[in-house]
């Protein structure tokens, strides 16, 4: 490995940050020093040699799968639309399971056809959690900042609590958290065991003035944590999550059109720099001890 091993085993890159083929992305992420990768359904469906070959590539890369994204506009639909989305969800769950993925990311619906009735949203997410359950997959529900009814993490948390399924929890994305300016003190009210994934990104602007600008920024001009105008907020968020006892993974959800036309190794090295910044400067972790192992979470008795 090129780097001295920093204590960043819980941080990974998203394939969406780079262009190139899936094997190229996996190699770049691994060579930069990461041990995990967040995959997109498109990585599999779009693989030139087919889905089984894509799964083999992921497995042979040695990278752990942080999670699988993203199921969109799922909850709140009825009739044929609901049945259609169930089929889409099943297809994604099967791909996720085949990869050995343990988390499926679901974004809150933007659909004008979707109801905002909290009971209906909870019922649909509970059903999704049941579909995921035999496959050993957890469902992370994320409030997209331009979601139609659910657009803040506090609202997403309410739906998760209402649905009350053991394998349904929250996905947090720093971009959406900052965009809606939801008070971050609210994070203290979350159950850290029910946060299944945290995605981190920074962006260059101080302010986002409109929803249109927010969507454009989210999809084309995010940067890695520490590279943008919100380093202090990202650092604060990660510190706060650490303090409430979040022990899950961090993934860099960085959509950036410029990174799409840069060498993969260069992008991956920028991501690694962000991980080291978070691990060593923000969380002030020590270097891993030789032979250190992560113990399995103890099963609560009874």
């Amino acid at each position: 490995m090129m780097h001295a091993a920093a204590n960043i085993a819980d941080m990974g890159m998203d394939t969406i940050s780079m262009s190139g083929t899936l094997p190229m992305k996996l190699a770049a992420i691994r060579d930069a020093g990461f041990s995990q990768v967040m995959l997109s359904a498109k990585d599999l469906a779009g693989h030139a040699e087919g889905i089984p070959a894509a799964i083999d590539a992921v497995k042979s890369s040695g990278l752990r799968v942080t999670g699988f994204q993203v199921l969109r506009d799922f909850e709140g639909l009825s009739g044929n639309l609901h049945d259609y989305k169930i089929d889409v969800a099943k297809s994604m769950l099967e791909m996720c399971a085949a990869l050995g993925g343990r988390v499926l990311l679901v974004c809150s619906s933007t659909s004008t056809h979707a109801t905002g009735d909290p009971d209906a949203l909870a019922r649909d997410l509970r059903k999704l959690a049941m579909l995921a359950l035999p496959l050993g997959i957890k469902v992370a529900y994320e409030g997209l900042s331009w979601g139609r009814h659910i657009n803040e993490f506090t609202q997403a948390w309410d739906v998760v609590c209402r649905a009350n399924a053991p394998n349904l929890g929250l996905g947090l994305d720093s971009f959406h958290l900052f965009a809606t300016k939801t008070p971050l003190e609210m994070i203290d009210l979350l159950d850290p065991e029910k946060i299944f994934l945290v995605q981190l990104a920074d962006f260059m602007w101080q302010e986002i003035r409109s929803v249109e600008e927010r969507i454009a920024t989210a999809r084309t001009f995010r940067v890695f944590p520490g590279e943008g105008a919100h380093s202090a907020e990202v650092a604060g968020l990660v510190t706060q999550l650490d303090q409430i006892g979040y022990g899950g993974d961090y993934s860099f959800e960085v959509f950036n059109d410029d990174y799409q036309q840069m060498p993969l190794a260069t992008v991956a090295q920028r991501a690694y720099r962000a991980a080291v910044w978070l691990g060593e400067e923000v969380l002030q972790r020590s270097m891993p001890l030789p032979g250190q192992i992560r113990l399995r979470t103890q099963e609560p008795a009874g």
């Binding site: 099943k90 509970r126 059903k127 999704l128 959690a129 049941m130 579909l131 359950l133 035999p134 050993g136 399924a165 053991p166 394998n167 192992i293 113990l295 399995r296 979470t297 103890q298 099963e299 609560p300 008795a301 009874g302």
Partner: protein
């Protein structure tokens, strides 16, 4: 005939669950497993009309040995080592039970039926196993349609030492206890027993009681200290209820069944017993238990 449309469904048993109709094993060596079952008191009763499938029975217990190569997706071809491939549940209305399960997020198993065979609805259970729903078990049985009786054989051999279904043990991965508890609660209304209510000699894990009170599921997680102990989650063994365990052990021993007898650990006693694994892991547990009277 039960006046279903006048009797409201019991809220604590929404499916009208009424015990286990059969347990299905899959194996590529059906005769070897058949010998093990016969030693345990089962008798071969009938053959499936179109597939390499045999029905064994003793008392109220039906066991199906399936050596058929399925073409249904997400089904494993039968391995040499027998595996519990399905639990078939008796319910009030199989179609309604199936529909309710799908509405709540169960995966349907596509069926492949031949002409004049029954379409028995099934959902995916743990690992590659399935859960079937059957509502014809009183005046008329599913075996009358899909199976041909083996001539000269008593179709209702009595149970040895009063053996009856007690339950099924499921191995789960670490951190999955609440998941599987929710699965069986949401789809079938199983309830968790308090920790001090345990049966038999292997009290680990969590025990779920069926809403009909006629059988139990026991969920067992790996020992937490063991790193990387996760394996495939599966239905690991069935447990028979026996009114007198030691009498049952004595009778089974005479027939050649061996039990685990470890002076310090698991051994046959009044509360229960465990047979030695055969054919790569097929074992049966005995639990002191009297049969529950049939509902309805």
């Amino acid at each position: 005939m039960t006046p279903d449309r006048e009797v409201p469904a019991d809220a604590s048993n929404p499916l009208g669950l009424d015990g286990i109709e059969f347990i299905e094993y899959s194996t590529s060596r059906p005769q070897a497993l058949g010998q093990v079952l016969e030693m345990t008191g089962f008798r071969p009763i009938a053959r499936h009309r179109s597939r390499e499938v045999l029905l064994y029975r003793q008392g109220e217990m039906n066991v199906i040995i399936n050596a058929h190569q399925s073409t249904v997706p997400r089904s494993a071809p039968p391995a040499e080592t027998p595996a519990i491939a399905a639990i078939c549940l008796r319910v009030r209305d199989a179609a309604a039970a199936y529909k309710r399960a799908l509405e709540r997020g169960a995966w349907a198993v596509p069926t492949r039926i031949e002409v004049m065979e029954l379409n028995i609805p099934a959902i995916h259970g743990v690992g590659t196993s399935r859960i079937y729903f059957v509502d014809r078990y009183r005046d008329f049985s599913i075996y009358d349609v899909d199976f041909t009786p083996i001539p000269t054989v008593d179709p209702h051999p009595p149970a040895l030492a009063g053996l009856h279904w007690f339950g099924v043990v499921q191995y789960i991965n670490g951190g999955r206890l609440d998941d599987w508890t929710e699965f069986y609660h949401e789809l079938f209304a199983f309830q968790t027993l308090p920790d001090d209510e345990r049966f038999g000699i292997l009290p680990k894990g969590r025990v779920l009681k069926s809403p009909c009170g006629r059988f139990y599921l026991q969920l067992i997680a790996p020992i937490p200290e063991l790193l990387d102990a996760d394996r495939d989650e599966q239905l690991q063994r069935v447990a028979f209820g026996a009114p007198d365990v030691l009498a049952a052990v004595a009778q089974l021993r005479q027939r050649g069944v061996e039990f685990i007898e470890s002076p310090e650990g698991v051994h046959s006693e009044r509360r229960g017993a465990l047979t030695r694994g055969q054919l790569g892991g097929v074992m049966f547990e005995l639990v002191q238990h009297k049969p529950v009277g049939a509902a309805g």
